[in-house]
């Protein structure tokens, strides 16, 4: 085995240019494999960071109370008409006691009790329908990183202040520091000062969202206690499916994982991952074909030598090991060089830190280069590719081969 490896190494070093070209070809394939891994993996992380990154990973929503029929309806047909009510009618009352319990669960990094509802924003004759989010002061950026989106003013929600999206501000021709009237669906209105303008870059939040302090929201929706919704942020968003049931068991509240509401996103990410596997398989196939064809050529070129070795007492197995070793060495060297080149090039990209909302950068993640896998798969692929030429070499008739 050791001697076969020596022969294989000598064959490779004897044709330096050919070996270098072959290793270079394999390295290119590995580089593509690694770059694709970093790109596909990075893109998935990027999408998650830009979508689920600003989402609550677990949500506890107050359940709307079923309407009660006050009239007996035996023998009659009852037409029930329920008017659309504000979300504020459904309330989570025990949140002050529950928040510490939830915060103590490992993996929970933030919790934001909120009062949400709808309303109208008025400035002079202009009226726009908005969603009102009442947040605890100091917790404005626990779920969506509001502070990172602020273009004017501050994200801090004080009493009498409101944060508005840039599109809404532009549409209503508003400016920082101006006073607007916010009327809730409960019929309460408040005069508020624009203390901050944000730009998330997506139409909905920038056009229809108004953030106020929890105290202001209590006034607007006539809720002296409780909240309508609790949003929870996790260190690992993929842990939501396991932590949500724990919260439910602990609190008795209906805690829902973000994945329940983002099935399509997950499906898209899975499809994207599969596309990545296909592309990487093609890169691997290219490596295998390249190594196989080069070694077949080498086998043909070295036919007389194979004949001599066989005449001197080298068995078929020995000849096979010589050629399979060449394949393995080419795969290993190409894998190492390709992985090193891939890592070097990926260093130039900013990486995961740029995936966070508000940051700019290409969706390429250096940590997802799959370097070890690329080297192992390439070496295995090259060994696989060398089996056919090695078998052909081992089967050579020594008499015919020597005569050539």
């Amino acid at each position: 085995m050791l001697y076969a490896l020596k022969i294989a190494t000598r064959y490779l070093t004897a044709s330096k240019a050919q070996t270098a070209l072959l290793v270079f070809g394999v390295a290119i394939g590995v580089f593509i494999f690694i770059f694709m891994s970093a790109l596909i993996g990075g893109l998935a992380e990027f999408i998650m960071a830009r979508t689920a990154g600003d989402m609550a990973h677990i949500t506890i929503q107050a359940e709307a109370v079923d309407p009660a029929l006050l009239l007996p309806h035996e023998g009659r047909t009852v037409l029930l008409v329920q008017e659309a009510t504000s979300q504020a009618t459904a309330v989570l009352k025990d949140t002050p006691a529950l928040v510490p319990l939830i915060e103590a669960i490992p993996g929970v990094i933030g919790i934001s009790p909120q009062i949400n509802g709808s309303g109208f924003l008025t400035r002079g004759a202009q009226v726009m329908q908005v969603s009102i989010n009442g947040l605890e002061p100091g917790k404005e950026s626990v779920i969506a990183n509001l502070a990172s989106y602020i273009t004017e003013g501050t994200a801090n929600l004080g009493a009498g202040g409101v944060l508005l999206g840039k599109t809404l501000v532009d549409d209503m021709d508003l400016a920082l520091g101006q006073t607007v009237r916010l009327q809730s669906s409960s019929g309460v209105d408040e005069l508020l000062t624009i203390t901050g303008v944000y730009e998330m870059g997506s139409g909905g939040p920038d056009r229809r969202q108004a953030y106020v302090s929890l105290a202001t929201a209590r006034t607007l929706f006539k809720l002296p206690q409780g909240v309508t919704r609790v949003e929870i942020k996790l260190a690992d968003l993929y842990a939501a499916d396991t932590i949500a049931p724990r919260i439910k068991a602990l609190t008795g509240l209906d805690a829902k994982s973000w994945t329940e509401q983002a099935a399509q996103l997950l499906e898209a990410l899975r499809a994207q991952a599969q596309t990545g596997y296909i592309l990487k398989s093609f890169a691997l196939l290219t490596i295998i074909i390249g190594v196989a064809s080069a070694l077949l050529l080498s086998t043909y070129r070295r036919r007389p030598e194979i004949g001599i070795m066989r005449a001197m007492g080298a068995g078929r197995w020995f000849v096979m090991v010589v050629f399979v070793s060449q394949g393995a060495l080419i795969g290993l060297m190409g894998g190492l060089f390709g992985a090193a080149a891939g890592y070097g090039v990926l260093l130039a990209f900013p990486g995961r830190t740029s995936f966070a909302p508000g940051q700019s950068g290409l969706p390429i993640d250096i940590t997802q280069g799959a370097y070890g896998l690329a080297i192992i798969l390439t070496t295995l692929g090259a060994i696989l590719a060398s089996i056919l030429p090695a078998r052909a070499a081992a089967r050579l008739d020594p008499v015919t081969a020597i005569g050539q």
């Binding site: 001697y3 004949g307 066989r310």
Partner: protein, 225 residues
């Protein structure tokens, strides 16, 4: 003398049907240990085919082939490879050395391939053989840098590496000038005399044949003299 090998009623045909060619037609031959024999005959007489069968590189179509009391007629490829490695050495007309290896590496190949590595003992034996062949200054030379005569002497050293009982030489001097040919033949004769190695040398050159103690003439697929 001790019997070394024997072939009886050896037949070898190539092709089939109308294209069938019968190269050996029931050839009989016996050789003893320590012989220095020349194999003579015109082109196409079956000399090379006989050497190939005796070298266990090819099975006969029919007949029997024994060497050192081992029946090689129908032995497996693996058995023949092992037998060949231990008991038979080859010297080809065009030296047939491994071009990417040094003289010493070529010489130790038959031992290294059997043992799985180049041992110090094998390297010592290889160096001794090369010194004996007059190549002390060329031991670590790549074979590509050697002259034709030097290459053929390396080939002789390689054939002797595993101390085989039989060395088959196919036109070993056919590609050499007179002086180099004489040098190679002198070495063969010396080794035959000193170590008792049996040599069977296929040649067209009557002067080379005259240096051998026995002449075996093959014609039309049979031993004729």
């Amino acid at each position: 003398m001790t019997p070394l090998l024997e072939v009886q009623d050896l037949v070898k045909t190539f092709g089939s049907g109308e294209a069938e060619t019968r190269v050996l037609r029931g050839l009989n031959l016996a050789m003893s240990t320590g012989e220095l024999a020349a194999l003579l005959g015109p082109s196409g007489s079956g000399k090379s085919t006989l050497l190939t069968i005796l070298g266990t590189l090819m099975h006969p179509t029919s007949g029997s082939h024994t060497m050192l009391d081992v029946d090689l007629t129908t032995a497996s490829d693996r058995s023949l490879t092992e037998f060949r490695n231990r008991h038979i050495g080859f010297v080809f007309q065009f030296h047939n050395l491994l071009p990417d290896f040094t003289a010493l590496e070529n010489v130790v190949f038959p031992t290294a391939v059997r043992e799985g590595r180049e041992t110090a003992t094998a390297r010592r034996r290889g160096e001794e053989l090369l010194v004996r062949m007059g190549l002390a200054e060329r031991i670590h030379f790549p074979t590509a840098n050697l002259s034709g005569g030097q290459k053929q002497r390396v080939a002789v050293a390689r054939a002797l590496m595993n101390r085989p009982e039989l060395v088959l030489a196919d036109e070993p001097t056919g590609n050499l000038d007179r002086a180099s040919a004489q040098q190679v033949m002198d070495l063969i004769a010396e080794i035959n005399r000193d170590e008792g190695t049996t040599f069977l040398i296929s040649t067209h050159d009557e002067k080379i044949a005259a240096l051998c103690r026995r002449q075996i003439v093959v014609g039309d697929g049979l031993v004729t003299g």
